[in-house]
C-alpha cells in the first residue's frame, strides 16, 4: 500500500489509505481523547469528544471517523478544539452521577481520566441531574444506567464482535438507557463473555461478582493463561492480599492471541479456587472410610505402593508442561491414557500425510485469504477461538468456509457453510480435493462448487476443532484435510486443542485407549472419570491414587487422595494453540503437584520412537448408519466444560440445561423421549430444532454424569449412534 503524509499538530505523519486521523495520531504518539472509539470496534462517532480542526474545513470533525487524506493538516490542540471538547465533556458530566468513591470503575475510568485532563474546571449548569436510576441486574452483569454515557461501545461489542445482539438502547433522547432486550440477560441470549463490561469506558456495565469488592488500582495484577480450555486466553487476575478478586481480559490492551476476549469460564470461573468442593488434606482409605492424613504420610505410602509397579496413568490435559514432564519421569509415559486421545488421533491423521506431528499455530489464519473450518460447536468448546474466527471475517475481511454436521454460530458470518450428515463429511472434503485437481470438476452441488472455487489459488488456513474432534472419524477427517492441504500447496492446518495442554500431552506421552492399560496401580491426575473418560470403568488394580483439587466422584474408588492446585495457582507453561503460553501464579496454593511429584523416585524409562506410516491418500469414513439410528453429539455446554459450573458459584448462576435437540422430523412432536444406546437408556426432554439436519441430534448436558454411561463411550463422544425408543 502506498503511504502518504499528513500533518498533525505540525508533525509530519505517515498514513495509509483507509486509516482514520485518530489511528494515525495514535501511532505517532499524539493523544486525542476518545469515548466511543475502541480499537476493536467499528468507529461510530457517537460521543464527539475526539473533535479536531482540519485546515480548510469549516467545522470541527471527529478524528475517529475522519479518513486521512493526502496533505491534510490537522490540529488537535487549538483553543477552538479545546473549548469544543470541554463543552462536550461538560454536557456528559452534567448528567453523570459522579459517585466515584463507590464506583467500581474509579481508577480505570476513562471519563475520570479524560474529564480530568480535558474537561471544564467548572460546570455552568444549575439544573438538577437527571435521575435515570435504571439499574438492570443480571446474574453476573449489572447495568447502572445513571453512569452510562451512551457511547454504544457495549452494543457494538455484543452485536457485531460477539454476534449476540443482547444489548440495545431503549427510549430516546434524555430517557435513553442501555438494557438487554427483554431486560433479562439470560433470556436475551447473553453468553456472559464479559466483553461488554471490558469495553465500557465508565462504571455502567459492571461485573456483579466484583461489585463493591475492591478498588481497581490497589490490586496486584498477574497476567496468566486461562487453563479452562484449549483457547489458552491470556488474562489478568487481580488479587488483593493473596485473594482473587476478579479476572479481566482488557480488550485492546492485552497482547495475547485472544486480544483480551474471554468467555464465561475465564471471566467468572476463577472462583473454583474457593470452591467449597476443594480438597483440604490428603485422604487415605482405612476400611470403608477415608481418613485425613498428612502429606508426608501420604507420600510415604505412595512411594511404597508404586515401587516397581507398572502404572496406569489417567491424565487430564490441562496440566502444565512442567507437571507433565515430572509425571512422565515418575510414572512412565507409555502406559498412559488421556482425554487428549482424540486430539492425538487428529494429529496422527495429519502426520500420516505431512510426515510430522505438528500443526500450525492459530496466527496462520492472519496470513491466509480463506479460513476453512471443519468443526462443530467450536463456540461451545473453545468460545474465544470461535470469536477470533468471527473477527477474522468481520474485521479482516477473510472468507470463512465451514464444514460440519450441526449448525453453528459461525454460520452467520461464513461465506459458505456446508452442513452434511456425519458420514458424508469426508466425501464432501473429497469434492474439494477433486476441485483442486480438476478445474472443471463439478460435484453436482452448486454450493460446494462455489466454495471450492473460492479456495482456488488462495492461501487457505484449515482449522479442525470443536466436537468434530470427538467423532469416530476424526483421524480420517484430519487425514483427508491434510491431503487436501497438501494438494493445494499453499495451506496450513491448525487443530484446536480442546483442553489447555492437549498438545503437550500428545507430545510427551504415547496415549492408549484405557482398555489397553496393563498396569497394577491406577494413578488419576486432575481428572474426573465420568467427565474425561465417559463410559469407562477404572481397571482393576491393587491400589488407586487420585490427584485432584476437588472432591470428585472418583474419590470413592480411591485408596489414596492427594490434593493439588487449580489453574490460577500454577506457575509454568502450556503448549497452546498459538505457541508456548505462560502461566503465572496469582494465588499461592497449599499443595503443588510438581513439588509433590518431585519427592517421588524417578524411574528409568525408555520410550520407543513412534514410527509414522506415510500414506498420502485421503481417509475413508468409518461411520455407517442403519435406518432408525440417529447420530448424536454429546455437547457439554460452554459453562459446564471442564466442570466449571459445577465448582464455580459464579458460573453456576448462568449454567445451561440438559436437553436433547432433535429435528422436528425425528422428534415427531414428543416432549420426552427415551434414548437407547448400546448399554443403556436415558429419558430426556426434547427441544425441536429445525436448524439441525434430520438424522442428527445434539444432547446438551451441563455435566457428564453417570447416567450417560450406557450411551457414550470414551473417546468418541460425538457422532455416536442411538435409537429413540418408540413408545
Amino acid at each position: 500500500m502506498e503511504s502518504f503524509k499528513i500533518i498533525i499538530d505540525g508533525k509530519e505523519c505517515e498514513a495509509y489509505p483507509g486509516e482514520t486521523v485518530l489511528e494515525v495520531a495514535e501511532r505517532n504518539g499524539i493523544v486525542i481523547p476518545v469515548f466511543c472509539y475502541h480499537k476493536e470496534l467499528r468507529p461510530e462517532g457517537a460521543c464527539r469528544v475526539c473533535l479536531v480542526e482540519v485546515e480548510g474545513a469549516p467545522r470541527l470533525a471527529t478524528a475517529c471517523t475522519l479518513r486521512a487524506m493526502p496533505d491534510m493538516v490537522v490540529k488537535t490542540n487549538t483553543e477552538r478544539v479545546k473549548k469544543a471538547r470541554a463543552g462536550v465533556i461538560e454536557l456528559i458530566l452534567n448528567n453523570h452521577t459522579l459517585e466515584c468513591p463507590i464506583c467500581d470503575k474509579a481508577g480505570e475510568c476513562e471519563l475520570q481520566m479524560v474529564g480530568f485532563r480535558y474537561g471544564p474546571k467548572k460546570s455552568r449548569y444549575r439544573e438538577p441531574r437527571r435521575e435515570k436510576d435504571i439499574v438492570i441486574q443480571g446474574p453476573l452483569i449489572e447495568i447502572d444506567n445513571d453512569r452510562c454515557i451512551l457511547c454504544r461501545r457495549c452494543i457494538r461489542m455484543c452485536g457485531e464482535n460477539m454476534g449476540n445482539r443482547v444489548l440495545g438502547i431503549f427510549n430516546r433522547g434524555y430517557k435513553a438507557y442501555i438494557s438487554p432486550f427483554n431486560g433479562d440477560f439470560l433470556e436475551g441470549g447473553c453468553e456472559h463473555c464479559g466483553s461488554c463490561i471490558d469495553v465500557c469506558p465508565v462504571g455502567s456495565l459492571l461485573d456483579r461478582a466484583f461489585k463493591y469488592k475492591d478498588r481497581p488500582w490497589r490490586m496486584e495484577k498477574t497476567w496468566t493463561t486461562c487453563t479452562l480450555c484449549g483457547s489458552g486466553c491470556k488474562m489478568e487476575v487481580d488479587t488483593y492480599h493473596g485473594k482473587v478478586k476478579r479476572v479481566v481480559g482488557r480488550i485492546g490492551i492485552n497482547n495475547g492471541h485472544n486480544r483480551g476476549y474471554l468467555c464465561v469460564r475465564g471471566k467468572w470461573g476463577w472462583d473454583i479456587v474457593y470452591s467449597d468442593k476443594r480438597l483440604k488434606k490428603p485422604l487415605l482409605k482405612k476400611g470403608e472410610e477415608l481418613k485425613e492424613i498428612s502429606l508426608e504420610e501420604a507420600l510415604r505410602i505412595l512411594k511404597e505402593k508404586i515401587e516397581g509397579k507398572e502404572i496406569n496413568l489417567f491424565l487430564e490435559s490441562s496440566l502444565t508442561n512442567e507437571e507433565l514432564s515430572k509425571l512422565s519421569a515418575v510414572f512412565g509415559n507409555t502406559n498412559v491414557t488421556s482425554d487428549a486421545l482424540t486430539f492425538s488421533l487428529a494429529v496422527e491423521g495429519i502426520a500420516s500425510i505431512t510426515g510430522e506431528r505438528r500443526t500450525a499455530s492459530f496466527s496462520s489464519t492472519e496470513k491466509s485469504d480463506v479460513v476453512f473450518v471443519i468443526g462443530d460447536f467450536i463456540e461451545e468448546v473453545n468460545p474465544v477461538i470461535a470469536t477470533l474466527l468471527r473477527l477474522l471475517v468481520i474485521q479482516k475481511g477473510k472468507r470463512l468456509i465451514r464444514v460440519g454436521s450441526y449448525p453453528s454460530k459461525l454460520d452467520a458470518v461464513a461465506f459458505s457453510s456446508l452442513i452434511v450428515s456425519p458420514e458424508e463429511v469426508i466425501d464432501l472434503l473429497k469434492h474439494f480435493i477433486m476441485g483442486t485437481i480438476d478445474l472443471y470438476y463439478s460435484s453436482g452441488d452448486r454450493k460446494i462448487d462455489s466454495a471450492a472455487k473460492a479456495l482456488r489459488n488462495k492461501k487457505v488456513a484449515f482449522i479442525i476443532g470443536g466436537t468434530t474432534l470427538f467423532s469416530p472419524d476424526i483421524k480420517e477427517i484430519s487425514q483427508t484435510v491434510a491431503y487436501l492441504a497438501d494438494r493445494m500447496g499453499n495451506a496450513t492446518i491448525t487443530v484446536i486443542p480442546p483442553k489447555a495442554n492437549s498438545i503437550g500431552v500428545t507430545k510427551l506421552f504415547d496415549l492408549k485407549p484405557p482398555e489397553k492399560l496393563k498396569g497394577s496401580v491406577n494413578v488419576l491426575v486432575n481428572t474426573e472419570l465420568e467427565r474425561d473418560f465417559p463410559g469407562i470403568e477404572l481397571p482393576k488394580a491393587e491400589f488407586t491414587v487420585v490427584f485432584t483439587p476437588f472432591y470428585t466422584h472418583d474419590i470413592a474408588k480411591a485408596d489414596l487422595v492427594i490434593p493439588i492446585e487449580t489453574g490460577v495457582e500454577k506457575e509454568g507453561k502450556v503448549e497452546g494453540i498459538e505457541r508456548t503460553l505462560d502461566l503465572k501464579r496469582a494465588v499461592v496454593p497449599k499443595y503443588q503437584l510438581t513439588e509433590i511429584i518431585s519427592q517421588l523416585p524417578y524411574r528409568e524409562g525408555s520410550r520407543e520412537k513412534r514410527e509414522l506410516k506415510i500414506k498420502k491418500k485421503p481417509g475413508e469414513s468409518i461411520l455407517s448408519g442403519e435406518k432408525g439410528e440417529i447420530y448424536f453429539t454429546l455437547l457439554v455446554n460452554r459453562t459446564g466444560w471442564n466442570s466449571v459450573s459445577y465448582y464455580s458459584g459464579n458460573v453456576a448462576k448462568v449454567a445451561g440445561r440438559r436437553e436433547l435437540h432433535l429435528h422436528p422430523e425425528d422428534a415427531k412432536g414428543r416432549k420426552i423421549v427415551t434414548l437407547k444406546g448400546e448399554h443403556g437408556e436415558l429419558p430426556i426432554s426434547v427441544v425441536e430444532n429445525d436448524s439441525l439436519i434430520p438424522g442428527t441430534a445434539v444432547l446438551r448436558v451441563e455435566r457428564v454424569t453417570r447416567d450417560l454411561k450406557g450411551l457414550v463411550k470414551f473417546p468418541f463422544t460425538s457422532n455416536f449412534k442411538c435409537r429413540i425408543a418408540e413408545e
Binding site: C100, P101, I102, A106, K211, Y212, K213, D214, R215, W217, R218
Partner: protein, 150 residues
Amino acid sequence: MELLKKVAFLDLLKGMKVTLKTMLKPTVTVHYPFEKVEPRKRFRGIHALKLNPDGSYRCEACYLCAEMCPSNVIDMEMTEGKDGKKELVDFTVDLTRCLFCGLCVEACPRDAIVMTDIYEFSKYSPDKLILHKEDLLELGRYYQRKEREK
C-alpha cells in the same frame, strides 16, 4: 561582713532566689498521669469513623484515605451488602506505624474519618494497636459526643 554573710545565710538565700520568687506563683507542671491537659482543638489523636444520625457509618470504603497515607496505615475490606449498598467488612488502622499527619482526614470525600483527641493508647502487645471497624466506630461515637458537648 564575712560574719554577717555567714549568719544570715546570704549565699543560700541568693541560691534560692528563684525558688523563693516563684514559690507563691501558681504551678505550671502537670502531674501526669494524675493530672491531664485538655488537648488543643485541632489536636490529631487516634482515628475514628463518624456515624450518621441513624447509626450507620459514613465511610463508603473508597480507599482514598489509605491511598493518601504515607506510611500505609489504613487497610480495608469491602463487599456488597444485603441491601445492595457498599459495605465495610473491616477497616483497620495500624497505629504502630501512624505518623498522625492527618492526610487521611484531608482525603476523605465523605468526612467519615476523623482524628479524636485521644493520645493515650499504649497497649501491652502490638496487635492491640491495630484498630478495627468496631473500635473505630466506638471511637466515632465518642468523638461525636464530644463534638456535641462543645
